[in-house]
């Protein structure tokens, strides 16, 4: 069991460091398994403010140590960034759907900003499968973990690292994309995912997208995280966060 009735059951933090300005990688003890695509819910403060847990994609899980990579964007992540090795953190999970590419064939990983986290986990569990990774971000500082992938293509909006522009540009030029044998696994900002979804439809590729939304609970009871899909209204935390391409009905 991954957590008990005892509120004080917490995971010990093994390490935490700032990998890029404003981006942290934290490792903590975790007994139990999880699959790439899933996420955990972290309590960032002991008391009632901030109240709710914060969802974080699992970036790795090996030998009972789970890692997450996060960007400081508000109060919750700022508090998380203050935690140190030896501190404890209250973790529940794993929750959500997993990446399920076909058993064979090349996989193309597309990550925007912090979206590389679940892709990294997938890549570590399936090292020979990833044909290439495409990593995008606003600036060089927003390109994370690029050196952990073998074939990697980088794009930044300001051109400070790799190609200038969006990550979809190197993606669509890649031979495995162009010959339509590639299966896409993508995670990143909504705009990027929508663009990839539309490209995949146009170019006849299939794949999976990992979405993000504010989450109240993470396990399907608050109904705060729904999105509309071809299969009806779904909870992003239970029926997602990983959806097939072509499945999501994009809002505006």
């Amino acid at each position: 069991m991954w957590f008990g009735a005892d509120k004080t059951m917490k995971s010990k933090i093994v390490s935490s460091r700032e990998v890029k300005r404003g981006y942290f990688r934290m490792e903590f003890e975790f007994s139990g398994d999880a699959a790439p695509g899933q996420f955990v819910m972290l309590k960032v403060a002991e008391h009632n403010d901030p109240l709710l847990r914060r969802p974080m994609s699992i970036a790795g899980l090996e030998n009972g140590v789970m890692s997450v990579i996060f960007k400081v964007v508000g109060r919750g992540t700022a508090l998380l960034a203050e935690k140190r090795a030896g501190d404890h953190i209250d973790v529940i999970g794993p929750f959500g759907t997993v990446f399920t590419p076909p058993q064979t064939g090349p996989v193309l990983l597309v990550g925007g900003g912090i979206g590389v986290a679940p892709l990294l986990f997938w890549m570590k569990r399936n090292p020979p499968r990833a044909a290439a990774a495409f990593i995008g971000g606003a600036t060089e500082n927003d390109i994370l973990c690029a050196d952990e992938f073998s074939e990697v293509h980088i794009a930044t909006e300001n051109g400070s690292h790799g190609r200038k522009g969006l990550v979809t540009a190197p993606l669509v030029e890649h031979p495995v994309y162009r010959d339509k044998t590639g299966y896409l696994l993508a995670c990143g900002p909504t705009g990027m995912l929508k663009a990839i979804d539309q490209l995949a439809a146009k170019d006849g590729l299939r794949g999976e997208l990992s979405l993000e939304e504010r989450m109240g609970c993470g396990f399907g009871v608050c109904l705060g995280c729904v999105c509309d899909t071809t299969g009806g209204r779904k909870r992003m935390c239970v029926e997602g966060p990983v959806f097939k391409t072509g499945e999501v009905l994009w809002r505006n």
């Binding site: 069991m1 957590f3 008990g4 009735a5 005892d6 509120k7 309590k43 009632n48 403010d49 901030p50 109240l51 709710l52 847990r53 529940i92 939304e213 504010r214 109240g216 609970c217 993470g218 396990f219 399907g220 009871v221 608050c222 109904l223 705060g224 995280c225 729904v226 999105c227 209204r233 239970v238 809002r251």
Partner: protein
């Protein structure tokens, strides 16, 4: 082992710790996270005759010590509840309170009739206070005379099953509403539902909730809830179930001491999925330590003056 059983109308509960509607799904979502048989009962997500998709996103946001929701009473509908959820719920051995609402008085009556007849539903909780849906909610619970009439009609439809009526805090004075439930023949009152609130994203200058207003819940509202529960207790003789911001054993005790016969935990289920089970265990330990033989001896022991 203290006696934790409490009685709400015809319903006997193992202990006075219940989970609140809309924060516990259909009970099944918590399997593996807590033992649902260890809590007094759980209240289902608010049910209606027809399924509802609820409001547009975004429909939750965090606030200081609380959160706002505007789910809009999304639910699978009573048919799907009966065929898809109830069989599994029955297997869990949970005590089930079916929370429900309608768009019209006739809807309320029909929903109550359906749910009361359903195998495995132990009691009904009528939500007359949801501020989220254009035609439902506040209108039903906003006028004591109408509330009394609705309660009486629904009580009849409930065919002997315990009927709990859940009150809105968005009123100037909750006491006439408590009396209306009692006079209408309701078996118990539960209070409070969420307070109306609003939050703005200053970067986008948009409301954080698509529909602008939503319902505030969580520890922030506890003092308001406790005051209203105390007022209900002083006004009626039927049992009152306290709801609002409960996050700890002390919070449970506050409501019991104020006179609530039982409590419901809402928002904190999101933060700590096993909280209801923990609180039931802690309440037992507390009673034993304090030499309280039966939890009902705590109820209404507030010392004023």
């Amino acid at each position: 082992m203290a006696e934790l059983r409490v009685r709400i109308g015809a319903l006997e509960l193992k202990n006075p710790i219940l989970s609140a509607s809309g924060t516990f799904g259909y009970g099944l979502e918590f399997s593996g996270m807590m033992d649902i048989r260890k809590i007094g009962a759980f209240c289902t997500k608010g049910l209606s005759l027809k399924p509802r998709a609820g409001n547009q996103m975004p429909r939750i946001c965090e606030t200081p010590g609380g959160m706002i929701n505007s789910i809009g009473l999304e639910n699978v509908g009573i048919d799907a509840f009966e065929t898809e959820k109830m069989p599994a719920i029955r297997k869990t051995g949970a005590t089930v309170i079916a929370n429900f609402f309608g768009d019209t008085e006739a809807d309320y009556i029909e929903a109550a009739r359906r749910l009361a007849a359903m195998d495995g539903v132990h009691a009904l909780e009528m939500n007359v206070s949801c501020p989220n849906v254009d035609k439902g909610g506040i209108e039903f619970g906003g006028d004591p005379a109408f509330l009394e009439k609705l309660t009486a009609a629904v009580k009849k439809a409930a065919a002997g099953k315990t009927l709990i009526v859940k009150l809105s805090p968005n009123v100037a004075d909750i006491r006439p509403f408590a009396s209306a439930v009692e006079n209408g023949g309701g078996d118990a009152i539960s209070a409070i539902n969420t307070l109306k609130g609003m939050s703005i994203d200053v970067k986008t200058r948009r409301p954080k909730i698509k529909r602008v207003f939503g319902g505030l819940s969580g520890p922030a509202i506890k003092p308001v809830a406790l005051k209203m529960v105390y007022e209900c207790v002083k006004t009626v003789k039927i049992p009152v179930i306290g709801i609002g911001g409960i996050a700890s054993l002390d919070d449970v005790l506050e409501f019991l001491i104020a006179g609530a016969s039982a409590v419901q935990v809402g928002t904190m289920n999101f933060v700590e999925p096993s909280i209801c089970q923990r609180l039931a265990e802690e309440l037992n330990v507390y009673c034993d330590r304090e030499g309280i033989a039966r939890v009902s001896a705590l109820v209404g022991t507030l010392r004023t003056g």
